[in-house]
């Protein structure tokens, strides 16, 4: 495992391939959309507004 960590440190210092960077960016946006859509579609927005109004009218 020591060697694994050493290997990781070497990878960390290398620059990512542009395709990986691009793919990561796209998946990052996708993850944000997916998380947002999940909570919206499950009715959390309604729950939040309900709790908000129960506290602050």
């Amino acid at each position: 495992m020591r060697s694994i960590i050493k290997e990781d440190v070497e990878v960390d210092t290398e620059r990512e391939h542009p395709l990986i960077e691009w793919g990561e960016f796209v998946l990052g946006l996708g993850a944000c959309v997916l998380m947002g859509y999940f909570f919206y579609s499950k009715g959390y927005w309604g729950l939040l507004t309900h709790i908000w109004s129960s506290f602050f009218g």
């Binding site: 960590i5 990781d8 990878v11 960390d12 960016f25 990052g28 993850a31 944000c32 997916l34 709790i51």
Partner: protein
């Protein structure tokens, strides 16, 4: 609220004992956090095992638990004082080092755990499994002062380390403390995830991973209830952590620790056997790769397996002795134990059983493996025990881009294999496999941290704001679940009033506890939630084989059988709801039960939902 004092004492006693034991037999810790978490795990395991042995010896009396706590505190007093001082210094440094975003996440996690704690502090109510056996069995053990075999109760011979912690908690204070113990084990798992990530990646990854696990809906829902799964997940996760540590550092003492946690997990639930077997295989392959001589390999495997089996063995031996099947009633077709009305087969995964042809099987397995994570996240019909949330779906795939990073590669491989084991063999139920989600949360946490610190500012900002918004939603969910607890805490209602209003059978059982003689034996008809009954009782659930109504042609024969079983009273649900009609007869419209009632039952009590009868045996 007194439960909070007790849980602090239990935590200190367990940590003290754990620290003392780890100093003697454990490995050198790489950090204070690791030492603390491992100590808590070992200490809780120690308390569970001590309670089990006391139960086997017939010594389950309240003062004994105080002695156990005191022993833990005395045993580790020097280490506890030393650790408190060191932690104080370390925490002060760390809080300064944390950035404001991480602190914000930590505050969210803290609030969610606090809301869960409020739920744990309520009197146990509602949920079936805790009141039917997770709390009911410890309560019976305490009444009888030993680990009796309750043949009609589901789970009476399951491995029960977590149940032993509940026994100690009920003995010390009550069932609310047992719920707080379960909550505490969940909170320790959250801390363990952060500590693990801190050692293997960095603190920020730990903060994200811990938050992802703490906001997993199945965890939020079940951690304050007296189920056992969150506790099992703690032992399983600690065994995985110790295994990683052994892979990195080697050493017999670390392997011993892997064995200890694996044994504690296997002694807590059957499902942990699978992870135990997988760990054995991983250790074997690692030893092979290191080209260790056969003698050393055998020694290492024996050290791990021997300790794990030794710790778990008493539970399996107990089942073997009482029922002739070490995992009774599971796999009865294999071991041929005491008859049981349901077939918990382990021969093959359920999806395989339903398919005939080989290619159909493969297709089914592949479909289940490919869609389970998606189904758990989106399908609300599956209920809380399969509600895993979105993080595990949205984040881990990104880690595949970083396959070259060896630590991630191993984590991806480990998670993938664990996932396959979960969906294909361990019932595909996320509640039974929370340790898998603890592992996956690390992968998700690593990806979240990467997005959070991404060099493209717009992605960084978008991700951070989305992640915080989702945590806010999770917090809203926690608050919604905890709302009755908040109301209860702020009201002047006491536990008795609360239970009379919320727990259907509480009134009837209050009557039983007040009016029936101490040696009464009660038959519960149409009821499995027997926790609040303080007399000896049995179920008439069709899976049990002691009293099968269909075997008796006349009311007199049924009476004869009840006499053999020493049943003196009956508590009956008046109207069996449609969902349970396949399990229980509709007693008051069933001709045989009506004949029996008219001939031999005397009504003692009645409310809207339940009646209590006395059986009139002819003299």
């Amino acid at each position: 609220m007194v439960e909070l004092v007790y849980i602090v004492l239990m935590a200190l006693g367990s940590t003290g004992a754990g620290l003392a034991l780890l100093r003697t037999v454990g490995p050198t810790s790489t950090s204070r956090a690791e030492e603390l978490v491992f100590s808590i795990g070992v200490g809780l395991g120690c308390l569970a095992l001590c309670t089990m042995f006391l139960g086997l010896l017939g010594l389950l009396f309240e003062p004994v638990f105080y002695v156990l706590l005191l022993a833990g505190l005395l045993l580790g007093r020097k280490q506890l004082i030393g650790m408190a001082g060191r932690l104080q210094g370390r925490l002060a440094e760390r809080s300064l080092a944390w950035d404001s975003f991480s602190l914000c996440i930590v505050v969210f996690v803290g609030l969610a755990l606090a809301l869960n704690l409020l739920r744990a502090l309520m009197p146990p109510h509602g949920a079936v499994d805790p009141l039917a056996y997770h709390l009911a069995l410890p309560n019976i053990y305490l009444i009888k002062h030993y680990l009796s075999f309750e043949q009609t109760l589901t789970g009476s011979l399951y491995p029960d380390n977590i149940g032993m912690l509940y026994t100690a908690a009920i003995g010390l204070r009550g069932a609310s403390l047992a719920q707080v113990v379960h909550w505490f084990m969940g909170a320790v798992t959250v801390m363990a995830i952060w500590c693990f990530c801190r050692d293997y990646f960095n603190s920020q990854v730990g903060v994200f991973a811990a938050a992802i696990y703490a906001f997993t809906p199945v965890f939020i829902f079940f951690s304050p209830l007296a189920y056992v799964d969150v506790g099992v997940a703690l032992f399983q996760f600690l065994s995985l952590w110790a295994l990683f540590k052994w892979m990195r550092e080697g050493g017999d003492r670390t392997l011993l620790l892997v064995g200890i946690f694996t044994g504690l997990a296997m002694g807590s639930k059957h499902t942990a056997l699978f992870l135990g077997m997988a760990s054995s295989l991983a250790i074997f392959l690692r030893l092979l790769k290191l080209k260790e001589p056969p003698k050393k390999m055998a020694r290492s495997l024996f050290l791990f397996g021997g300790v794990a089996l030794l710790l778990a063995m008493p539970w399996y031996l107990r089942a073997l002795i009482y029922a002739g099947n070490p995992v009774w009633p599971v796999a009865n077709e294999l071991f041929g134990g005491l008859p049981y009305g349901s077939n918990f087969s382990i021969a093959m995964p359920s999806v395989v059983e339903t398919s005939g042809l080989q290619w159909e099987r493969i297709k089914d397995l592949a479909y289940v493996a490919a869609t389970s994570l998606w189904e758990w996240a989106w399908n609300g019909q599956l209920g809380w025990q399969r509600a895993t949330g979105i993080y595990y779906l949205a984040l881990p795939p990104v880690a595949l881009f970083h396959w070259r990073r060896a630590r991630l590669r191993w984590l991806i491989l480990g998670s993938a294999l664990y996932y396959l084991m979960v969906v294909l063999y361990v019932d595909g139920n996320p509640r039974y496999n929370l340790a898998f989600f603890a592992l996956l949360s690390i992968l998700a946490g690593w990806v979240a941290q990467r997005f959070s610190a991404h060099r493209i500012r717009s992605l960084r900002l978008l991700f951070n704001s989305t992640f915080l918004a989702t945590l806010l939603c999770g917090l809203a969910q926690s608050y919604a679940l905890a709302y009755p607890a908040v109301h209860f805490t702020l009201s002047r209602q006491d536990s008795e009033q609360f239970l009379l209003a919320t727990e259907g059978n509480y009134k009837a059982f209050s009557f039983v506890n007040r009016q029936l003689p101490p040696d009464a034996k009660v038959l519960l008809q149409g009821i499995v939630k027997g926790y609040y009954c303080q007399r000896e009782y049995m179920w008439d659930h069709p899976y049990q084989r002691l009293l099968q109504y269909g075997e008796y042609a006349t009311a007199e024969q049924m009476l004869e059988r009840m006499k053999e079983l020493r049943i003196t009273h009956i508590v009956r649900m008046i109207h069996i709801p449609p969902g349970r009609i396949n399990f229980f007869p509709q007693y008051f419209t069933d001709s045989k039960h009506e004949e029996f009632r008219k001939k031999f039952l005397k009504l003692l009590y009645r409310d809207n939902g339940y009646v209590v009868f006395e059986i009139s045996y002819p003299s």
